[in-house]
């Protein structure tokens, strides 16, 4: 083995143990080759020096300066978000409560009305007040027309309701088709509970004949809009307690506008 090959071998074997034949070959060559021995000595000495090279240690001041330099490039720390937890919690509770209230309100609005004969009967009665000069009568009826078909009985002040109920008042009715000809103005609207409330302002009960009546769709739309908006104010108290003053004013107004 020539010197160049031997040095290649030594350089490559530094990271692993030279064993067996390699070790023997190297030892044998080095014994007889002072130049290669010198080469190996220099290599060992160099690696030993590198191995013992002590890096300077940064002084405390240097370390602080370096940290200051690094810190100046870092984003500004923000306050711990834990401090805002109570505020977040409060906002969450308020949002939850508001959401729940809105959901309940909507569900209530969407809830199909059921025809509770007892309740409706009471409500109707409570609203009938013959002391009003224009006699605003209201009947609470379920939204579904098939459950709320009424038969008009002119002149006697009674309205027959499905289920054998009888409503007071000369004429108060709602069906899918109610016509105001014959001297009556019917104002139906949907309450926040899904009931159809029918206000009837009648100038002369005797002039209303039995039969099917219909309100023109345009006028119904206008009236419904107005009354629905007003009715929203009753949402929390609506159980047959339509404010009489409101009904009075409304009836007065509608009477004037629907003079037939």
């Amino acid at each position: 083995m020539n010197c160049e090959t031997l040095r290649e071998l030594i350089l490559s074997k530094l990271d692993s143990y030279a064993h067996g034949s390699d070790a023997d070959i190297i030892q044998a060559h080095l014994k007889n080759c002072p130049e290669c021995q010198q080469y190996v000595d220099l290599l060992k000495r160099s690696l030993d020096i590198l191995n013992h090279t002590q890096a300077p240690e940064p002084s405390p001041r240097q370390m602080n300066n370096m940290w200051d330099e690094i810190a100046s490039r870092l984003p500004v720390p923000r306050k711990s978000s834990w401090r805002l937890v109570p505020a977040y919690a409060l906002v969450a509770v308020v949002c939850f409560a508001a959401g729940y209230a809105l959901k309940s309100y909507r569900e209530t609005m969407r809830q199909p009305a059921t025809f509770n004969s007892d309740q409706d009967s009471v409500n109707c009665t409570a609203l009938f007040d013959y002391s009003y000069p224009v006699n605003p009568y209201a009947i609470y009826l379920p939204h579904e027309p098939e459950k709320a078909t009424l038969n008009l009985s002119p002149g006697n002040g009674f309205v027959s309701l499905p289920g054998g109920l009888t409503s007071h008042g000369p004429y108060a009715a709602y069906t899918g088709n109610i016509e105001t000809s014959g001297g009556a103005a019917c104002i139906p609207f949907v309450s926040p509970y899904g009931h159809v409330i029918v206000l009837q302002i009648k100038k002369s009960p005797e002039t209303l004949e039995s039969g099917s009546y219909q309100i023109s769709s345009d006028r119904t739309k206008v009236l419904l809009n107005r009354i629905t908006w007003a009715a929203r104010g009753w949402v929390w108290t609506m159980e047959g307690r339509v404010p009489p003053d409101y009904l009075l004013d409304l009836a007065q107004e509608m009477t004037e506008k629907t003079q037939i």
């Binding site: 040095r7 350089l11 220099l42 590198l50 090279t53 300077p56 240097q62 370096m66 940290w67 720390p77």
Partner: protein
């Protein structure tokens, strides 16, 4: 940035600054100013990737790898430097004849020569020498920290030693055939 992250990172800095500074000093060619720059850049980059740091047991290896990569980039940016500085490994005598480093050279002189060699050496060879022979990692650890195969580490180490020896012996008038 959360203040607790910053505090946590400051602790990492305090634990590792001395070691990383030493490594930076060696990788940057034994220059204090360069070492400081490299150190700062290393920790700054470490902080930027702090959100990906999860393994506290490998904190040292994580920083070492960042330091090596940063060093490589810094050297690449300053490539002109190595082109302008000619390797002056073996100083010649006044009459122009080079003298052998093997004979009559103190450890201090040899140390100076070795630093010059490393300073002007290709970064990929300098890195393996620094990690293997100055930081004391074995070839497997070097391979992990440099993210290269162990076989590549071995071949680079062999080549790096050759360069060192060649340059140390260059003053004898070229390679010595026996």
């Amino acid at each position: 940035m959360r203040s607790d992250s910053r505090k946590q990172f400051e602790n990492i800095y305090q634990r590792n600054i001395r070691r990383i500074y030493g490594l930076a000093w060696k990788l940057s060619g034994f220059q204090a100013g360069e070492a400081e720059d490299l150190c700062q850049e290393t920790f700054y980059r470490a902080f930027r990737s702090f959100h990906t740091y999860t393994d506290e047991n490998h904190e040292s290896a994580w920083l070492t790898r960042i330091c090596i990569n940063t060093s490589r980039e810094m050297w690449r940016r300053r490539a002109f430097y190595s082109e302008q500085v000619e390797p002056q490994i073996v100083s010649g005598n006044a009459d122009g004849t080079a003298r052998s480093v093997e004979n009559g050279m103190s450890d201090l002189e040899l140390s100076g020569k070795l630093r010059e060699i490393l300073k002007t050496m290709d970064p990929e060879f300098r890195e393996v020498v620094v990690l293997r022979h100055m930081e004391g990692y074995d070839t497997r650890e070097v391979s992990e920290r440099m993210d290269i195969p162990e076989g590549t580490v071995r071949s680079r180490l062999k080549r790096a030693r050759e360069i060192i020896m060649d340059r140390l012996r260059a003053g004898r008038g070229g390679s010595h055939e026996l």
